[in-house]
Each structure stands twice: as C-alpha cells, then as structure tokens.
C-alpha cells in the first residue's frame, strides 16, 4: 500500500478539494472510469446468464420460454455469458435474450460511459456469436455490423480472445 495518509493530506488541501470531500454523497454511486473497463468486461463474461437475463420483464409465455431456455442451456454447461458467446453452437434463443438485455442496457446507460461501452460490446457479441444466423437475430445491415466490429476492434480494453471472435465474424460479413 502507498503511504498516502488522508487525515494528514487533507490538512494541506485547497478549498476545491475540501469542497469535494464535504460533498461526498453516499447516495450517488461512484462513476466507472475507462480504467475499470477490463475488469468490467471480465466480470460481465463471468456473470451468470440466469441472473442478468431473468431480470428482464417478459410477458407470461415468453417468460416461460426463457426459463426453459436457461434451464436447458445450464444442463448443457452454458451458464455464463462467456459460455454462451464462445460456444461452438450457441442457442439462438439465448443469444436473442442476451441481445435484448444489452439493448435495454444501452438505452438506460449514458452514451459513451464505461457501462454503455460494455453493454454495446455485448449487444454486438450476442449478434456476432450467431455466426451464419446473424441476420435472424438482428435487422442491422452487414454494413452497420462491419462498422460496429471496427469500433470494437479499436477498443484497447477488449481482450484478444474476444477480438478473435469479432474478427472472425467480421470476415464472414465481408465475404
């Protein structure tokens, strides 16, 4: 740990710094920063599908279908987003749910914030992971998807394994 001592440091701080300390509000969550993106990415990959996807409100029959899809996938060992998105033959029903979940997250997060970037990447991955079935999941044109893959490949916080998946999908789109 560093030797930084807050109670000493505050004694030589300026008004602007003291003002920020006085204004710390427990009700306001600490904003994510770009430094947090790699950790957020890993956390989202490791997150359980059931936890996130079951949080979406769906009408009765659709909710029942979701339950069946999640249970079936879990029985086949597909439990996390990483399991789903890197699966050789991911269940389309779950990819669709995943796409809808992150589409909703994109809408509720402020644009270009770390939360928004993570949601946008997972929205895109949910479509790309469908391989040949991409067009069944999204109405986005190939041109739009290629553009989005270009954005994703430029992000320094995206790991190599994920970039390979994106690159492979991009080749398919360009073919």
């Amino acid at each position: 740990m560093t030797a930084f001592n807050p109670s000493k440091a505050v004694r030589s701080s300026k008004a602007a710094q003291l003002s920020k300390m006085m204004d710390l509000d427990p009700a306001v969550p600490d904003p994510w920063t770009t430094r947090d993106l790699p950790g957020m990415l890993r956390h989202q990959f490791a997150a359980l599908l059931e936890f996130d996807l079951a949080s979406m409100k769906l009408p009765g029959r659709a909710a029942g279908n979701r339950k069946d899809a999640l249970e079936g996938a879990a029985a086949a060992g597909v439990k996390s987003f990483e399991d789903l998105l890197f699966h050789q033959e991911p269940p389309l029903e779950l990819l669709k749910l995943s796409k809808e979940f992150f589409k909703w997250r994109i809408q509720v997060c402020a644009k270009s914030t770390p939360e928004w970037k993570i949601s946008y990447l997972f929205y895109l991955l949910s479509i790309l992971a469908a391989g040949e079935g991409m067009q069944l999941l999204s109405t986005l044109s190939s041109t739009d998807l290629i553009k989005s893959t270009g954005w994703a490949l430029k992000q320094g916080w995206v790991d190599e394994k994920t970039k390979e998946l994106i690159l492979s999908a991009r080749k398919r789109l360009l073919a």
């Binding site: 740990m1 807050p6 440091a9 920063t33 947090d36 956390h43």
Partner: protein
C-alpha cells in the same frame, strides 16, 4: 509593532500548548476532563492561529504569546466553555469574536493613547480575511478528524473487520487520494487484486458503504461542537457553501495571508 516575515512552513500555524493534560494545570482551572480539554485545544489551535495571523497583520511576533494568553484567560477559564456551549449562534463565530475582543482589549491596554480604526485589530478587511482563514482551517480540521476516526473505526476488531478494512482502503485509494492529490482514480480491478475483493462490482458496493461510514463520522465531529440535529446540519451546509465559494476562486487569497506556503 515589530513586523516579522512569515515563516514558510506548516509549523507556522502551530503554537506551544500541546500538552496541557500533562501539565496538571487544567483540573485546577476548569471542571473538565483534562484529556478531553487537551483534545479540544489541539483541535482549535490551528484555526485560531490562522485567524489571528490574517486578522491582525503585523502582529506575527506576538501571535504565540497572545494565543497562549487567550487559551489561559478564556478557553481554560472556568465557565467559559459552558458559556460557549449555551445557544449563542455558531461556535466558530463565538471563538472568532472572543479572540478578536481579547486581542482588542490587550491592544487598548497596551496603547491607551491610540484609539484609531487604522490600528491593528480594527481593520475590517483583515478581520474578514481572518474569519475566512479560520473557517478554512476549521474545515480542514473537521475533515481530518472525520477521516482519522473513520480509519480507526474500520480497523477496529469486529465481526466483519476484513470487509470494513477493504471499505476503508477502497475509499482511501479510489476516492480520497484522487481528490486530494489530483490523480486518476485507481481502477476497480486493481483494487480487487490488491485487496482481495470479489469483483469490481463488489468493490464499488464497498465504496458506497465507505461513503456512508465517512458521512456518519463527519456529522459526529460537527455534532461535538454544534448541537446535533438541525444545528449540525446547518453547520455542515455552511461549511459546504463556504468551501464552494472559495473553490470558485472568489477568496483563495485567504490562504496566502495565513499559509504562504500553500497558495
């Protein structure tokens, strides 16, 4: 009065009375627990000196002696603190007025032939500057005390000590250090690695808990010199408004008067 150049060091704001409880003089003078009173004096000495240096320019050489006398003749005088604790407006203002009147009385006694508004102690601009210097030092002292207590609280042995320690370290490294040192916040993933926290999201939740603990200690520190409840809330709002005003650049000159090394 002899003018001395200001010292360019942190010590300029500290004056001798640091071991009153050890001196054994307190119990004879006031009905107070010596330890408590010693803490009280230590807490207020820096703001009082900042006030004095800015409010009475040209009297730097007399500062320590006059403040020492003020301590003995007022703060340690039987009944003075009780008077201060009666409802008589803000405690900070009570201290300022008491010190100002004390110094003016001394000046009148020392120079009975001179009764001029231009004399030291009768300079309104300097008095305003002194008032701001005290408030700024006061805010520092309050925050420093709240931080110190929070750390002790989080390190205290208890059932969930590990998580409270993680909360303190998360608060210290992710929030306080960037604010006070102007650096980028440490990433949550680094905190996860360094502190053994479950995930970045768990670290973020710890920070919410830490902010709650800090807020509780901040209010407790203020409640010790202002009455709790509404008076303490008002004092917190006043300190916030005061700091906000300074932060906007209006009156940062206060620091140059009181602490030339930290402008």
């Amino acid at each position: 009065m002899k003018k001395v150049p200001p010292k360019r060091s942190e010590e300029v704001l500290h004056w001798p009375p640091t071991e009153w409880s050890a001196s054994g003089r307190i119990p004879e003078r006031v009905d107070r627990d010596p330890e408590t009173l010693n803490e009280l004096i230590l807490k207020y000495q820096t703001p009082l000196k900042a006030y004095f240096l800015a409010a009475f320019p040209g009297m730097e050489a007399e500062a320590d002696e006059l403040l020492q006398d003020f301590l003995e003749d007022r703060i340690l005088k039987k009944g003075w603190l009780d008077k201060a604790e009666e409802k008589r407006g803000r405690f900070r203002d009570f201290l300022k007025i008491s010190l100002k009147n004390f110094v003016r009385d001394r000046l009148r006694k020392a120079h009975p032939e001179v009764v001029s508004m231009s004399e030291p102690g009768f300079d309104l601009a300097a008095e305003e500057s002194g008032s701001e210097a005290l408030d700024l030092e006061w805010a520092r002292a309050v925050l420093s005390e709240a931080l110190k207590r929070m750390e002790l609280d989080c390190r205290r042995p208890c059932r969930n000590k590990a998580s409270r320690l993680q909360a303190w370290e998360t608060f210290r490294l992710r929030l306080v250090k960037p604010i006070l040192e102007g650096t980028d916040p440490i990433g949550y993933e680094d905190l996860v690695d360094r502190l053994g926290i479950g995930s970045p999201f768990a670290a973020r939740n710890l920070l919410v808990s830490a902010k709650r603990i800090f807020s509780r200690h901040l209010k407790a520190v203020i409640a010790e010199y202002e009455e709790g409840g509404e008076a303490a809330r008002t004092e917190l709002d006043d300190l916030r408004q005061f700091l906000d005003g300074l932060a906007r650049g209006k009156k940062e000159k206060v620091r140059s008067n009181a602490r030339p090394d930290h402008v």
